[in-house]
């Protein structure tokens, strides 16, 4: 019964607190975590979304393995199954749907669409999750320090947040893409243990992660700071200070456990935002390059086939929409569960 919650928390956050397992007796005490999980489970929509999200995560994890053992072949050509008179539209109904290609083929090259969509999740989710983790990490650390210290530190961080928010993120992304990726591939990959960054897909992916996190952390920092402002006036903080607790202890042992709820909510909402951001970047031509399948690359190709091959046009869009909606609803559900007082 705790599987869903621990899965969920496993992505972003450690458990909220120790639940008092094994409290015997008829009047079982329930920890806040248990209460939250009970509320989450009671919400059908959240649970459905949660299962969909799990499926997407499963696809993301399993795809590389399936490609390795040859079940999926995202780059293999099947041009013999295309009608070359009509510019390469697949033979057969619904974009060439068949037992061997359950979602049909891509026009032009005849790659298996199921393989591509599934494999695209590996890249898209990988980028979204990594980006989210880094974003939250930066946001939480800066938020706690800023909120707890107040004064000059708070003002500095506050201005830094304003500065970051006022940067034109998309422009930076487009302008910096080529030189940064080159830097990553040529110089950063020389560093020990970072040799894998020579791979263009990983280097481009890392660039997207860097941009997403570099511009995504301010809202997290602001929310955390707001929470910390009220927490730092509480008695237990005073008490900890009086017994001479170090700053580190104050920040991460006293304050942090009390701001987990908003962090968790923010995390679950950032993931879908980053999935669609990654797709948008690929669509604009930055990020991982074709023919490597990412949601954005597939979409970019599919939009020109609106009328010629509608199946190919709609499927990637539906997959992206479902994924983003599912992750979003999980995030909403988590917020309701953790903080029932907030009204949407």
């Amino acid at each position: 019964m705790t599987i869903p919650a621990s899965e969920m928390e496993g992505h972003a956050v450690p458990p909220l607190g120790e639940s008092e397992e094994g409290v015997a007796g008829k009047v079982a005490g329930r920890s806040p975590t248990q209460l939250a999980m009970a509320r989450f489970r009671a919400d059908k929509l959240s649970m459905i979304s949660f299962y969909v999200s799990c499926f997407v995560v499963f696809a993301a994890v399993a795809s590389p393995i399936l490609v390795k053992i040859g079940v999926f072949d995202p780059d293999g050509l099947n041009q013999d199954k295309l009608n070359t008179d009509l510019g390469g539209i697949p033979h057969g109904a619904f974009g060439g749907v068949s037992w061997s290609h359950p979602l049909g083929l891509t026009p032009g090259n005849g790659e298996d669409l199921l393989s591509r969509l599934s494999f695209s999740m590996t890249y898209s989710l990988g980028i979204a999750l990594t980006g989210t983790l880094i974003t939250v990490l930066i946001g939480v650390v800066l938020g706690i320090i800023s909120g707890f210290s107040g004064g000059f530190v708070d003002a500095t961080v506050g201005r830094f947040i304003d500065l970051t928010l006022s940067f034109p993120q998309t422009m930076m992304l487009l302008a910096l893409a080529a030189p940064t990726v080159l830097l990553i591939r040529k110089d950063v990959s020389e560093l020990p243990l970072l040799g894998f960054l020579e791979n263009p897909d990983l280097a481009n992916g890392l660039f997207v992660v860097i941009i997403l996190s570099a511009f995504g952390w301010p809202p997290v920092a602001r929310v955390v700071r707001g929470q910390v402002l009220s927490i730092r006036e509480r008695e237990f903080i005073e008490a900890a200070k009086l017994i001479g607790a170090s700053r580190k202890r104050l920040y991460f042992k006293e304050v942090l456990p009390n701001v987990w709820a908003p962090i968790l909510v923010y995390t679950t909402l950032l993931i879908p935002a980053y999935i669609s951001a990654e797709a948008a970047f690929s669509f604009l031509g930055v990020g991982i390059k074709p023919p490597t399948p990412t949601l954005g690359n597939i979409l970019r190709d599919s939009v020109s086939w609106t009328t010629a091959d509608p199946t190919y046009f709609f499927l990637p869009g539906i997959v992206l929409a479902l994924t983003v909606v599912a992750f979003n609803l999980v995030g909403d559900g988590a917020r309701d569960a953790l903080d029932p007082k907030t009204h949407r």
Partner: protein, 578 residues
């Protein structure tokens, strides 16, 4: 005879340029477009699409589309081609700014043209013989005037060459060797005389096909800063400035006198040039018969996604075989392709069929077996490529790759003119074939500027894509411009020799021998010999010949894909209805 020009990246991929004799003919459903007479007035639009014009400087242009369009709207030359789809007429120069098509003396070693005395620049100044001489001199400033067909004057004009094989005249900016140039190109009143080292019977065709001998104003020349400056002497002039990525608007030039010009009908009141629209945007509007594109024509080919809707377009659809050939070039400066065995492996692994299918199939391309288009006189299948199946020979590729000296798996980077779904698809199709043979290919699509990147000798790529059409129907306008390292390779640029191929003394001697042969049939077989040598060295790997599939706006009249404009829409005759 005829024609053509150079490459340019097309949208989809390939693209190119110009024409050839044969082209006009084309196949069955070829349409010539609306044959009706054009109508005067109105505002017409030309869509450059996603491939920006890189130069408007006449001495720097070498893209078929830009050569054609500028020649029809705002740049006149001594001689030009009439607007005609007849393979002979459309490639035979007629007088334009000169009073006749030129007179040659000494068996073609001296050419004389007389400039008309009633023609003016857009500011009202008369066009003088000196303007022509100055324009010719700019070809020699290879440090500033980059990108154009300077090789022809280097090869022919009677100016001594230094130890480096380059002319001792260094252009009008440095003025080194100015007296040498003044002896070779001289003015006597309105008559300009060009003195050649060797006979050049094709000289008038080169003037009509290219813009490199167009007149230029010394007083307005700002060197590289003049790249987008347009000093018009034709029926239209630029209104305001040219903005890269957006385009510009051309309005009537009041100093152009229709009586002096038999070629340009100049029907619309304005011509708007637009950059940045995708093919999909343009073609959707063509098909819907609404929107701005209704008044437009384009040089972007129809994307394969529209092939299933051709019936809807009716008479707006035209199809002609282009004079261009597309090919890939191994980079001789790359550590991998220095080795002939690695190049051979690439040659055998290349799957033309997959590339063609990914780009739209037989409607879009037909396989090529040489860098020379079959419509050029003297064309022969290159033996090095003719025997390989269109879909490649994987066994031979693997065998050659086993002997390739590069560390396995052989990692290569393919830089191509990308930015459109079709070009990306074609590149993935090539990659799939190469990877099957044992290469590990990385794709590097370049979206905005293409040629200026791959023209850098130190550019970081192993294979690149190129396309070329004969400047006029002679193999001498294909092989030397592409592969003569003496004229292409300088410290800052590889000219059109994107693969940095250096033939060495043997190839140089073969090229010189072919140039020296005055019997055209014998010359053609000598050129075929050079091509065979290029095939042996795998200096290039031919892919296909582009077939132009175009639509145009429903309000366009007088539309024709003329031989005289390399199979592109001939803007000289186009009009719009309101």
């Amino acid at each position: 005879m005829a024609i053509s020009k150079k490459p340019f990246a097309a949208l989809a991929v390939a693209a190119l340029a110009t024409t050839l004799v044969a082209c006009g003919g084309s196949d069955g459903d070829n349409g010539g477009g609306s044959k009706s007479e054009g109508t005067a007035g109105g505002n017409a639009i030309f869509y450059n699409g996603v491939r920006n014009t890189e130069h408007w400087d006449p001495q720097r242009m070498y893209i078929g589309r830009d050569l054609n369009n500028s020649g029809r709207l705002f740049y006149r030359s001594l001689v030009a081609y009439p607007a005609s789809n007849d393979p002979v007429k459309g490639t035979t120069p007629i007088p334009d700014l000169a009073t006749d098509t030129g007179t040659s003396e000494e068996a073609g070693k001296v050419w004389k043209f007389t400039v008309r005395d009633d023609v003016k620049w857009e500011d009202g100044k008369a066009i003088t013989c000196e303007d022509f001489a100055y324009g010719a001199s700019r070809n020699f400033a290879t440090d500033v005037i980059i990108g154009g067909p300077a090789n022809y004057l280097f090869t022919y004009l009677d100016i001594p060459t230094g130890k480096d094989g380059l002319p001792e005249y260094k252009g009008p900016f440095k003025k080194t060797g100015q007296d040498l140039f003044d002896k070779a190109v001289s003015c006597d009143g309105n008559t300009i005389t060009y003195k050649m080292k060797k006979p050049w019977p094709d000289f008038p065709q080169s003037i009509a096909s290219l813009r490199y001998l167009d007149p230029y104003r010394a007083d307005l020349d700002k060197g590289d800063a003049s790249n987008f400056q347009i000093i018009s002497n034709g029926p239209y002039k630029l209104d305001g400035k040219w903005t890269e990525g957006t385009g510009g608007k051309f309005v009537r030039n009041t100093n152009w006198d229709a009586k002096t010009d038999t070629i340009r009908k100049a029907l619309p009141d304005t011509w708007q040039f637009k950059e940045g629209d995708t093919e999909e945007t343009i073609y959707e509007q063509f098909l819907a018969k609404t929107g701005d594109a209704n008044f437009g024509v384009t040089e972007r080919r129809m994307p394969p996604t529209f092939y299933s809707r051709i019936a809807e377009a009716g008479k707006l659809y035209t199809k002609v075989e282009s004079p261009f050939v597309d090919y890939v070039l191994p980079n001789f400066n790359s550590p991998v392709f220095k080795d002939i065995k690695c190049r051979e492996a690439l040659k055998f692994a290349t799957d033309k069929t997959a590339w063609i299918n990914a780009g739209g199939g037989e409607r879009a391309f037909t396989p090529a077996y040489s860098a020379v288009n079959p419509s050029v006189p003297g064309y022969e299948k290159n033996a090095a490529f003719g025997d390989i199946p269109d879909n490649g020979d994987i066994e031979q590729a693997k065998a050659a790759l086993a002997e390739c000296s590069a560390p396995k798996p052989v990692k290569i980077k393919f830089t191509y003119s990308g930015g459109t779904p079709t070009s990306d698809k074609q590149a993935s199709a090539l990659k799939a074939a190469w990877d099957k043979a044992g290469f590990k290919t990385e794709l590097d699509p370049l979206a905005d500027t293409y040629y200026s990147v791959i023209q850098k000798p130190d550019a970081d790529f192993d294979v690149t894509w190129g396309g070329w059409g004969a400047d006029w129907p002679s193999i001498g306008t294909v092989i030397p411009p592409l592969f003569d390292s003496r004229i292409n390779i300088t410290p800052s640029s590889n000219g059109n020799d994107y693969g940095n191929y250096k033939g060495g003394p043997e190839v140089d001697a073969m090229i010189d021998a072919a140039y020296a042969e005055t019997d055209l049939t014998k010359a053609a077989s000598l050129w075929a010999g050079v091509d065979a040598k290029l095939g042996e060295d795998v200096a290039y790997i031919p892919l296909e010949i582009t077939i132009f599939n175009f639509l145009h706006g429903s309000k366009i009249t007088g539309y024709s894909n003329n031989v005289s404009t390399n199979g592109y829409a001939d803007l000289a005759t186009i009009g719009v209805t309101k």
